[in-house]
C-alpha cells in the first residue's frame, strides 16, 4: 500500500493514531504536504459519500472527521511557517437560542473542520449576540445557524435582522440548517443558503466563498 492509500485507510477506518503517524511521517520524510493533504481530503469526501449511500452512519462519519482533524492539526504549524494559507475560511457555528438540538450542527462543524475551515463551534442554545460577537471577533466569513424546532427557526431570522441593523449583514455569508428549513425560508429571511445534509453543507460553504 502506498502513502496515499495509507492516508485514505486511516480516514475511512477512523484511525486517529494512524492518521497522526502518517502526518508525522509526511513531515519527517519531507513528503509533499500538499499531496498528503489532498490524499486525506479525498478520503474524507469518500467518507461523506459513503454516509450518503447508507454505508456509513453517524459514528463512522464522526470518527473519520476526527482522524482528519488530527492529521490537519499536525500539518498546521508547518503550513503557517511556510506562510501558506491552507485555511479555507473562518466559520462560526451554533444552534440558536432556545434550541438544544446539536447533533446536526456538530456533524457540520466536524466536516467543515476536516475540510480545512477554521471552525468556532459555540454549542447549542446560543444567544443571537454571542453569534455576532464571535463572528466579529474572529473575523469570520461564514455564520452557520442551526434550528431544529419550528419555534426556534425565527431566531435565524432575528439574527439576520440584527446583522442588518448593525450594518454587518454584508460582512458574512449566512448558512442555515435544520430539519424544517426549506428554500422558501432561506429566501424569506434573506440567508445565503441551506443544505440537505452535512456533506452538502461543506460543498455549499466552499460555494458561497467561491472556492
Amino acid at each position: 500500500m502506498n502513502f496515499a492509500e495509507n492516508c485514505k485507510e486511516s480516514i475511512l477506518n477512523g484511525d486517529i493514531e494512524l492518521a497522526k503517524k502518517l502526518a508525522d511521517k509526511a513531515i519527517s520524510e519531507k513528503i509533499d504536504i500538499d499531496l498528503a493533504i489532498d490524499a486525506f481530503s479525498l478520503a474524507i469526501r469518500e467518507a461523506g459519500d459513503l454516509f450518503e449511500e447508507g454505508e456509513f452512519f453517524l459514528p463512522e462519519l464522526m470518527r473519520s472527521a476526527e482522524a482528519m482533524k488530527a492529521a490537519m492539526t499536525i500539518f498546521e504549524p508547518i503550513l503557517k511557517e511556510g506562510k501558506e494559507d491552507r485555511i479555507l475560511g473562518k466559520v462560526v457555528i451554533g444552534t440558536i437560542e432556545g434550541d438544544i438540538h446539536d447533533i446536526g450542527k456538530t456533524l457540520v462543524a466536524a466536516l467543515l473542520s476536516a475540510e480545512g475551515f477554521e471552525v468556532h463551534d459555540l454549542g447549542a442554545d446560543v444567544p443571537i449576540n454571542t453569534f455576532i460577537d464571535k463572528a466579529v471577533e474572529v473575523d469570520a466569513q461564514i455564520i452557520c445557524i442551526s434550528a431544529l424546532l419550528t419555534t426556534t427557526m425565527v431566531g435565524q431570522k432575528k439574527l439576520i435582522n440584527q446583522l442588518k441593523e448593525k450594518k454587518l449583514r454584508d460582512k458574512f455569508k449566512i448558512l442555515i440548517g435544520g430539519a424544517p428549513i426549506s428554500k422558501k425560508w432561506v429566501e424569506e429571511i434573506g440567508a445565503d443558503g441551506s443544505a440537505e445534509n452535512a456533506i452538502s453543507a461543506v460543498k455549499l460553504a466552499r460555494e458561497v466563498l467561491g472556492i
Partner: protein
C-alpha cells in the same frame, strides 16, 4: 402532543413539560381531544422529562414535579377502559464519538424518570423516538427494573439506499432482539419516516419478532409555508396508510409529528368503524 403544544404558543426555550405545571388545563384539553377522537391510550407530556433533557433547558430541578404532574393530569380525565402511557424520549446526549456521555449516564437518567412515572401510576411505558439503540436499551432496562408493567419500545429509523437503519447504523433485527431481551413487550417504530414508508417498514419488523408491533409515523415531511411549518400528509391519506400498516402486522397505531386528533379520528373510523 409536542406539535400541539407548539401550535398553542409554547415559548422557544421552554420545555413542553413545564406546561404540566404552568398550563395544566391546556395539557388536559389535548389529552381529552385525543380520547374524544377515539384514542385508547394517551402519552403523558413527559417526552423530554428526563433530568438530562430538562437540564439542557435549565429545568432539571423540576424533573420529579413535571413527571408526577403529567401523570396526574392524564389520570384525572382518562375515561374508563382507556390507558395512560408514561412517555420517555431521548436524553438529547450521545455516546462517543458523537458525544461524551456513557451508557451508565443513560441508565441513571432513565431510572429516575421511569421511577417517577411508575410511582405516579401509569398503565404502561412508551419509550420512543430513540435514534441510538444503546440509549433505548438503557431506557428499557431502567423501566423494567422499576416496574413490571408493559414496556412499548419504539425506535426511529431512517430510510437509506440500503434499507432501514437508525442514524447510528443499528439494523431492524438488532433493535428488535436487543430491546426484547432488555424487557420490552411491544416493539415499534415512530417519527422521521412518513406513513407510506411505514407501510414498507412494518413487514420487515414483523419477520423478525413475535412481539406486538407499534407504528407511529410522521404526517409526511415538514415544510415551511409563510413562516409556519406544515406537514404534507393529510388525515385521510394518513389513515389509509395506517389501515395498510395494520394489515402488514401492526397492533398499536397512532401518529407522531404533524398529526393531531383529526388524524386519530380518521384512524378510528377505519379501525373501529367509529
Amino acid at each position: 402532543m409536542g406539535s400541539m403544544i407548539i401550535d398553542q404558543g409554547l415559548e422557544p426555550g421552554t420545555p413542553p413539560e413545564k406546561w404540566n405545571v404552568s398550563h395544566p388545563e391546556k395539557i388536559q384539553k389535548i389529552h381529552l381531544d385525543y380520547f374524544n377522537a377515539g384514542s385508547d391510550a394517551v402519552l403523558t407530556n413527559t417526552f423530554g422529562g428526563s433530568r438530562m433533557k430538562l437540564s439542557a433547558h435549565k429545568h432539571g430541578q423540576s424533573t420529579e414535579k413535571y413527571n408526577q404532574k403529567a401523570v396526574e393530569l392524564a389520570r384525572e380525565i382518562c375515561p374508563e377502559n382507556c390507558f395512560i402511557a408514561g412517555d420517555i424520549g431521548p436524553s438529547g446526549a450521545f455516546l462517543p464519538p458523537v458525544g461524551t456521555i456513557s451508557v451508565s449516564d443513560f441508565e441513571e437518567n432513565f431510572l429516575e424518570q421511569a421511577g417517577y412515572l411508575a410511582d405516579a401510576d401509569i398503565d404502561f411505558f412508551c419509550i420512543e423516538t430513540m435514534v441510538d439503540l444503546k440509549e433505548a436499551e438503557a431506557a428499557v432496562k431502567a423501566a423494567r427494573s422499576v416496574s413490571n408493567i408493559p414496556i412499548f419500545a419504539s425506535i426511529t429509523f431512517q430510510k437509506t439506499k440500503r434499507g432501514y437503519f437508525t442514524i447510528m447504523g443499528d439494523t431492524v433485527l438488532n433493535c428488535v432482539k436487543t430491546l426484547e431481551k432488555a424487557g420490552g413487550n411491544v416493539f415499534g417504530a415512530n417519527c422521521t419516516i412518513s406513513s407510506d414508508e411505514m407501510v414498507d417498514l412494518i413487514p420487515l419488523i414483523s419477520q423478525e419478532t413475535n412481539l406486538p408491533i407499534l407504528a407511529k409515523p410522521n404526517a409526511g415531511k415538514p415544510q415551511l409555508e409563510n413562516g409556519k411549518t406544515v406537514y404534507l400528509t393529510e388525515a385521510k391519506p394518513f389513515a389509509k396508510d395506517i389501515e395498510q400498516i395494520i394489515k402488514n402486522g401492526a397492533k398499536v397505531v397512532g401518529g407522531c409529528c404533524g398529526s393531531n386528533p383529526e388524524f386519530i379520528k380518521e384512524i378510528a373510523k377505519h379501525v373501529k368503524g367509529e
